[in-house]
């Protein structure tokens, strides 16, 4: 499956994953800062572990970063499995990933997140976070767009870096 890829590429993936995660995070944070969306994935992840807002944000940021790295490996496995190492394929994978997040993963949160309220059970002392709703639009109508854009940029950045690496090696 990994034929034609040097072992160093896995070392580079750590760096590429970091860059792609930073690019995606920049888009999501900018959309939040500019008032397009109220969603903060790091905060949502962090709140899984603690009810302390400060620690939820800090912890969530690191979980998000590690998640970004791990997904970089998954994306690379995908590139290798179909032997397509291009920016557009990365962007396409990001788009599919983003759609999955919006239509499947986020709507599932009220059932699995220990601190998220649900439309059916209301808010309790423990479950107080606002649920995302369909396409996470409870967090603002532009949330699906910014999420999708962030994921596309993530996949596109990874694809671009892999493509450049292979071009440099003459592959």
């Amino acid at each position: 499956m990994f034929a034609g890829n040097s072992p160093e590429v896995f070392g580079y993936l750590v760096l590429w994953g970091l860059i792609a995660t930073a690019a995606m995070d920049a888009i999501l944070e900018a959309s939040q800062g500019l008032g397009y969306s109220r969603m903060s994935l790091p905060f949502l992840f962090g709140a899984f572990f603690t009810a302390d807002r400060r620690w939820a944000t800090i912890l969530g940021f690191f979980v998000y970063l590690i998640g970004g790295w791990l997904f970089a490996f998954l994306y690379f496995i995908l590139f290798a499995s179909v032997n397509i190492y291009t920016w557009w394929f990365g962007a396409l994978a990001g788009a599919v990933h983003g759609m999955f997040l919006l239509v499947a993963a986020l709507p599932l949160l009220p059932f699995i997140h220990p601190r998220m309220a649900s439309e059916y059970h209301g808010a309790t002392k423990r479950r107080q976070l606002e649920p995302p709703g369909f396409l996470a639009m409870n967090y603002g109508y532009a949330t699906p767009l910014s999420t999708l854009l962030g994921q596309i940029v993530y996949g596109g950045t990874l694809g671009t870096l892999v493509q450049l690496h292979r071009a440099a090696l003459g592959q």
């Binding site: 939040q32 800062g33 008032g35 397009y36 969306s37 109220r38 969603m39 903060s40 905060f43 949502l44 709140a47 009810a51 302390d52 807002r53 400060r54 939820a56 601190r115 309220a117 649900s118 439309e119 059916y120 059970h121 209301g122 808010a123 309790t124 002392k125 107080q128 976070l129 606002e130 649920p131 409870n138 967090y139 603002g140």
Partner: protein, 619 residues
């Protein structure tokens, strides 16, 4: 309206106004706050002013400025009389509605957030309704109109979670233990209250973040209790225990409510565009921080024992002014930003049809030389309470002193921000003198080192005093005057003794005080300057703090009976919950101007402290 305190045991006024969509008179409002923003609650149980998430952010409820600009009302459906009070030394308001059928209590609080630890909404307003006697039918109306009524909120019901008003990146969640009905972008309902019934409403606001939905029931009660406990804890640090404790602590709580906890800034008032006289266009936005308030506010905080608040305030002063240093601007916003572009909101009718409604404030570009003295005075008060300056702060203070030396000869707009051409105000010179005098005092105490600037500070201080004594003093009147070579008087001259420029019994000062009382005092209240001095045709009301300055002067001069009489008279102009505005009508003693006004409440505290000191000296 009549005072019914004796009948009910509650300080309050009978409410006989029929139900109406218009706002109440400004003096009818009580303020609740969480040290981040503040809401004004009318005697009729309507929240007619609330800006979120902070004081100078756009309003959610602004019926104060336009009948259609949003409100949150809970009031009996039938005629009632309302009495109210704050619950002890807190900012939690209790309104008691009495109808022919019974009695209910409505409690209002903005929940105080103390730290980041708990998962809490950004801001939360809790209103509780408790049935006491009989059966009372209450009408509930929640009509948010974001962005001063310019933006339409989208209303959605999220099943068990509650109602959500959303717009842009903001969300207002309304949770209630009573079923409400939606009507377009508003909610309403009727509550039948019987003894023992208790209904809670939680209105929480979040901007730019995932909302936290606060639970109701015992949890809401716990948040209300925590807020009560927080205010009581804060108030317990007040070390004043004199004859005027109640008014002093209420004024201190009002100042604390107007303090933005996140930066330490103190806004001048909670409102914008309440005119100095109904129907006139002198409508300014006071939801910003004026440096002129600095010295006297720090004085009040320090003398009451709120050293932490004084330190936070000074920290904000030095931080906010960092970007413009060594020059100061007249005002800054709560974060220290200076760009306060003035805008007129033509779609709002204005308070009692007083147009225009303004947001932002153009006075921010004026030149006021007195502010250097106020800031340095604040630093000196902080140091007197044991505060220390780092090298950076000390450097900032010298820099301000150097600017004073360079600029004090200039004409300016003065403390009253009179628009139009600049003048040579005596008070501006006096505050420049104060700036250099206090810097030299700090130098002599070893708290800062003026170094090579000491000689210049001394020389310029002498020169300023010389100018005040020659050109700021009118030999014909035998008094100091509002501006150099002038013949009119200004109430700021009353501060000459408390600022340490003249002794209270100094002949020139005594004669100045006498003439101020003759020319500027009417019905026991004091104007800030003579009518027409500002070039406007409007005859304004007396300026709140000026009467309290006169109390301080009388106390310092040993005229204790006169001081007490004047103080009692001025305090009688406060509303039923002890709040004062910027100005007081000399004929009807009505509250006018932006409300409640921090500067006026600073005056109350400092006058009470001066009176107590004078009494102690006498005894």
């Amino acid at each position: 309206m009549r005072d019914i305190t004796a009948e009910t045991g509650f300080p309050g006024i009978e409410q006989s106004r029929p139900p109406t969509a218009a706002a109440a008179e400004i003096g009818d409002y009580a303020m609740i706050g969480d040290c981040r923003t503040a809401a004004l609650v009318s005697r009729e149980g309507s929240i007619d002013w609330l800006c979120l998430p902070h004081f100078s952010a756009p309003s959610i409820f602004a019926r104060l400025l336009d009948p259609g600009a949003g409100h949150f009302s809970i009031r009996p459906r039938e005629p009632f009389r309302a009495t109210r009070r704050y619950l002890g030394d807190t900012a939690v308001l209790e309104t008691r509605f009495e109808t022919t059928n019974g009695v209910v209590l409505v409690r209002d609080a903005l929940v105080v957030l103390d730290g980041l630890s708990p998962m809490r909404p950004m801001r939360e307003l809790i209103r509780t309704v408790e049935g006491c006697i009989g059966n009372v039918e209450l009408m509930v109306e929640i009509v948010p109109k974001p962005n001063y009524g310019r933006t339409l909120a989208r209303l959605r019901r999220h099943k068990d979670i509650g109602w959500a008003f959303s717009w842009r990146d903001e969300i207002l969640m309304l949770r209630s233990e009573h079923l409400l009905r939606s009507n377009a972008a508003s909610l309403g309902g009727t509550i039948h209250c019987v003894p023992g019934s208790l209904y809670r409403f939680s209105l929480s606001h979040t901007k730019g973040e995932i909302a936290v939905i606060p639970p109701l029931g015992a949890d809401a009660q716990a948040r209300l209790d925590e807020t009560l406990a927080w205010w009581k804890r804060w108030s317990s640090h007040c070390r004043y225990d004199g004859a005027y404790r109640d008014v002093v602590i209420r004024s201190a709580i009002t100042l604390k409510q107007l303090t933005y906890a996140i930066s330490g800034a103190l806004v001048a008032a909670a409102t914008t565009s309440i005119p100095e006289a109904v129907g006139h266009d002198n409508t300014w936005d006071y939801r910003y921080c004026w440096l002129r308030d600095a010295g006297l506010t720090a004085h009040a905080f320090v003398d009451l024992g709120f050293i932490g608040d004084a330190a936070a305030y000074l920290g904000w002063l030095l931080h906010a002014t960092h970007l413009t240093w060594p020059r100061l601007r007249v005002m800054y916003d709560i974060y220290g930003r200076q760009s306060l572009r003035e805008e007129r909101l033509a779609h709002l009718a204005g308070y009692r049809d007083s147009r225009p409604v303004r947001i932002g404030n153009k006075a921010s570009i004026q030149l006021q030389l007195d502010i250097y003295g106020h800031v340095i005075l604040a630093a000196e008060r902080f140091a007197a309470a044991g505060g220390r300056f780092g090298l950076a702060e000390a450097r900032m203070l010298y820099g301000l002193g150097k600017t004073v030396c360079d600029d004090w000869r200039q004409a300016d707009n003065g403390i009253w921000e009179i628009r139009g051409s600049r003048r040579q105000y005596t008070f501006s010179k006096l505050m420049c003198w104060v700036a250099l005098d206090r810097l030299l005092k700090l130098h002599e105490q070893g708290r800062i080192s003026a170094g090579s600037l000491e000689a210049r500070f001394r020389a310029e201080r002498g020169e300023i005093a010389n100018v005040i004594e020659t050109r700021g003093f009118n030999p014909e009147l035998q008094t100091y005057t509002s501006e150099l070579d002038g013949s009119q008087l200004d109430a700021t001259l009353l501060l000459m003794s408390s600022l340490g420029y003249r002794r209270p019994d100094d002949a020139r000062f005594v004669r100045t005080v006498d003439l101020i009382m003759e020319r500027l005092s009417r019905n026991g209240l004091i104007y800030r300057y003579e009518p027409g001095y500002d070039g406007r045709r409007t005859i304004e009301a007396s300026f709140g703090i000026c009467t309290f300055w006169a109390v301080e002067v009388f106390a310092a001069q040993g005229k204790i009976a006169a001081a007490e009489k004047l103080f009692a008279h001025a305090l009688s102009c406060a509303n039923d919950v002890g709040l004062l505005g910027e100005e007081i009508g000399v004929d009807d003693r009505s509250v006018t101007g932006n409300f409640p006004q921090a500067f006026t409440h600073v005056g109350v505290i400092n006058a009470a402290l001066a009176l107590d000191r004078a009494k102690q000296m006498e005894s």
